[in-house]
Symmetry: C2
Subunit: 366 residues, 2 copies
C-alpha cells in the first residue's frame, strides 16, 4: 500500500489508546481492504528516556516522509523538572514546526449521549458544534528573541516575542474560510487588537483576505477575553473561530471542556500541500497523557480513534471509512458503554479493552 | 475632608451607573458622616470627543493626586475605527501604567440569589468565591519592541513583546500570597512555562518568594490552558489565582462569566504604597460600557457600587461602611429586584433608578 502512517504513542495513556487504533486499522485491512504502511516511533518522555531528546532527527525525518502522523500524548511528572529545551513538549512543538503544520483544527462537539457530562446546563451545550482553527507554527510559541537574561542589577528578565506576518495570517485564515463554507459559513476571528499591534495586523489581514476571496462567508471579529466569556455564556453562537497560537491554546481547551468530554475530542494539524500533492498532517487527541491513570485500562480511546478518523477524512480521502468509525463511536455510546472519564449513572462502566471490543463488534455489523 | 475620590464615568452606561454611586456617596455623607472630596473627569471616548485624546495629562495628574479613582467603563462603536494609539482603551491603559497599578484584584463570586443566572449547573458554581490577581502593568500589554513594520518583500509583520522581570513578578505574587492568608490560604500560579521562557521565570520567582516569605501558604502551579479548562470543569477548586496581564485578562473574564452575573462584579487595581503611606488605586466594574443599552435606564449599577465598596475596604479603611453597602446589595437581591441583565422568572424587573432607590431604602434601614 502507499498509505504511510506514522504512529507516535508518546507517554502516559498514549500507548493504550493507540492499541485501540491498531485494532481498528487491522479491521480496516481485513474488512475494507484499506491497508496502511504503519511505522511506529517514540516522542516525548519515551524518546527522552531512550535517546535523551524529546524527538530525534530520525523520527522527524520519518514524519516528513509519511502521509500522516498519529500522536498519542506527551508528558508526565517524571520529566517535569527537565530544563525547558529538553521537556517532552518540545518534541511535539518541533514536529509542528518542522512539518509546517500551521493550521490546527479543533472541533468542540457535544455528543448527544454525553450532554449530561458537561458542567454547563444541557440547553447551553446540546448540539454544540464549533470548529476552532488555531494557528500552530507562529506567534509567541516560536517568536525570537526569547529567553531569560540576568540584568546588571542582579534581576532576571524573561522575554518572549509575539510575531505574525501577512502570509502566516492569510494562510491560516484561508483554512478557516474554506472550512466555514462546508459548515454554517460563519467565521469569527479572535485577537486583542485593542491592546496588541500583532492583533491589529491580524484583524486587518483577515479582513483583507475576506474581501478578496471569501466575501460570501460571514466574518466577525472578537477580542480574546470576550471570546473566553462568550464561550461560557452562549457557545452555540459560534461556527468557525480562527485565532493565533496562544489564544487558540486556551480557547480551544475551554471550548473542549464545555462539551464535558475531553476524552472524546480529536484534532488535526495541517500544513501546506507540497509539490507531490501531499499535505503534511498530524492527528492527536485533545486530552493529555493522564499519567495518573496510565497502565490501568481506564483510558478513553475514543478521542484518539476519532483523530484517526479525521486522518481518513482529511489526509487519505476515505470519507466513508471515517463515517463508519464515527458511527461505531456513536453506537457504543448509545449502548451505554462508558470509560470512567465519561461515566454517568445508569451507564455501563467499561475498560479500554472492553470499549475496543465493542467498537470492533459495531464495525463488524456495518 | 481629606478623602479624595476621582470619578471617571467614561462611556456607554458608565455615567448612569456612576449616578447610583453618587447617591450612595451622598447617603454616606448624610448618615455616616463619611465625606469625600469628589472630583469628576473624562476618560475614553468621552475624552476623545472633548479633548482628542482618551485621557489628558491633566486627568492623569488628578488621578495621581487623589486617593482612589472610580472608573465606569470605556469604549463603543463610535470610536472603534480610530487608530490604535487613540482608541478609548488607551486611556485606561495609560492610567494603569502611569499610576503603577500592578495588581488587579478580580473577585469571581457567585451570589446566592443569582446562582440560576449562570450557564453552569448550580452545584458547580453555588458558593463560588475565587480571587484572581492579574498583573496589570507589564507583560505583552506594555513590552517593547512593538508595532507593525513593512518587510522588503512587501509583507507586513506585527510584533509585541512579552516581558517580565524578577521584581515585577515578586511584587504581584506578594499581593496574592498576602490576600490568600486572609482567605483559604491557597495560591495557584498560572503561566505557560512549558512553552514560554517568561513563564519559566514566572514560575521560578513565585516559587522562590514563596519559600522565602510565604511558605505557610499552599502554592500550586498550573498551565494557562489547563486553568481555562479547570475553571469550566470545577471552579471551586481555586482560592487565589495569580497570573500575568494577558492570561489574567482572559481567565478573569471567563471566571466572571461563570458566575452568570457580570453586572455584579467589581475590581480593584492597586499600586505600591508611596512615601506618604498612600497606595494608588483604581476601582472599576468588570463589565464593559454596553453601548447597546446606554441611556435606557437598563444598566445594572451593582458592579460599580461594589467597586466603590472595595475602595472603602482597600483604600479608605472603612470596612464597616463597605459591609453596609454589600449588605444593601444582598438585601435588594433577596427582595427579588433585578435589572434586565440578571432578570429571572418570578423576580421583579426594575430600572437603574428603581434599583438605586431600593438600595438607599435598604441603607436607610441599617
Ligand atoms: C503540550 C503543549 C506544548 C501544547 C501547547 O501548548 O500547544 C498543548 O497544550 C496543546 O494545546 O497541544
Ligand atoms: C479594555 C481593555 C484594554 C482591557 C484589557 O484588555 O485589559 C479590558 O479587557 C480589561 O480586562 O480591563
Amino acid at each position: 500500500s502507499n498509505r504511510k502512517l506514522l504512529i507516535l504513542p508518546g507517554d502516559g495513556i498514549g500507548p493504550e489508546v493507540m492499541g485501540t487504533v491498531r485494532k481498528v486499522i487491522d479491521w480496516m485491512d481485513r474488512r475494507r481492504a484499506v491497508s496502511f504502511d504503519v511505522d511506529e516511533d517514540l516522542v516525548g518522555g519515551a524518546a527522552i528516556d531512550k535517546h535523551g531528546a524529546p524527538v530525534t532527527d530520525a523520527t522527524v525525518d520519518k514524519a516528513m516522509n509519511c502521509d500522516a502522523v498519529l500522536l498519542g500524548a506527551v508528558g508526565g511528572p517524571k520529566w517535569d523538572d527537565l530544563p525547558f529545551e529538553r521537556k517532552p513538549e518540545r518534541g511535539l512543538l518541533r514536529l509542528r514546526k518542522d512539518l509546517g503544520l500551521y493550521a490546527n483544527l479543533r472541533p468542540a462537539i457535544c455528543f448527544d449521549a454525553l450532554v449530561e457530562a458537561s458542567t454547563l446546563k444541557p440547553e447551553i451545550v446540546a448540539g454544540l458544534d464549533i470548529m476552532i482553527i488555531r494557528e500552530l507554527t507562529g506567534g509567541v510559541y516560536f517568536g525570537e528573541p526569547r529567553g531569560i537574561e540576568t540584568l546588571p542589577n542582579g534581576e532576571r528578565r524573561g522575554v518572549n516575542t509575539q510575531v505574525y506576518t501577512t502570509s502566516e495570517i492569510r494562510r491560516v485564515a484561508a483554512v478557516a474560510f474554506d472550512l466555514a463554507r462546508k459548515r454554517s459559513n460563519r467565521v469569527c476571528s479572535v485577537e486583542k487588537a485593542n491592546v496588541m499591534e500583532s492583533g491589529v495586523l491580524w484583524r486587518e489581514e483577515v479582513t483583507k483576505l475576506h474581501g478578496e476571496q471569501f466575501s460570501d462567508v460571514e466574518l466577525s471579529h472578537m477580542y480574546a477575553d470576550n471570546c473566553a466569556m462568550q464561550l461560557v455564556r452562549a457557545p452555540k453562537q459560534f461556527d468557525v473561530i480562527v485565532t493565533d497560537n496562544l489564544f487558540g491554546d486556551m480557547l480551544s481547551d475551554a471550548a473542549a471542556m464545555l462539551t464535558g468530554s475531553l476524552g472524546m475530542l480529536p484534532s488535526a494539524s495541517l500544513g501546506d500541500v507540497d509539490e507531490s500533492g501531499r499535505r503534511k498532517s498530524l492527528y492527536e487527541p485533545v486530552h493529555g497523557s493522564a499519567p495518573d491513570i496510565a497502565g490501568q485500562g481506564k483510558a478513553n480511546p475514543l478521542a484518539t480513534l476519532l483523530s484517526y478518523a479525521m486522518s481518513l477524512r482529511y489526509t487519505f480521502d476515505l470519507p466513508e471509512d471515517a463515517d463508519l468509525i464515527e458511527q461505531a463511536v456513536n453506537n457504543v455510546l448509545a449502548k451505554g458503554l462508558r470509560t470512567p472519564d465519561i461515566m454517568a449513572s445508569g451507564m455501563a462502566a467499561v475498560s479500554t479493552a472492553t470499549m475496543t471490543d465493542a467498537l470492533i463488534q459495531e464495525l463488524d455489523k456495518m
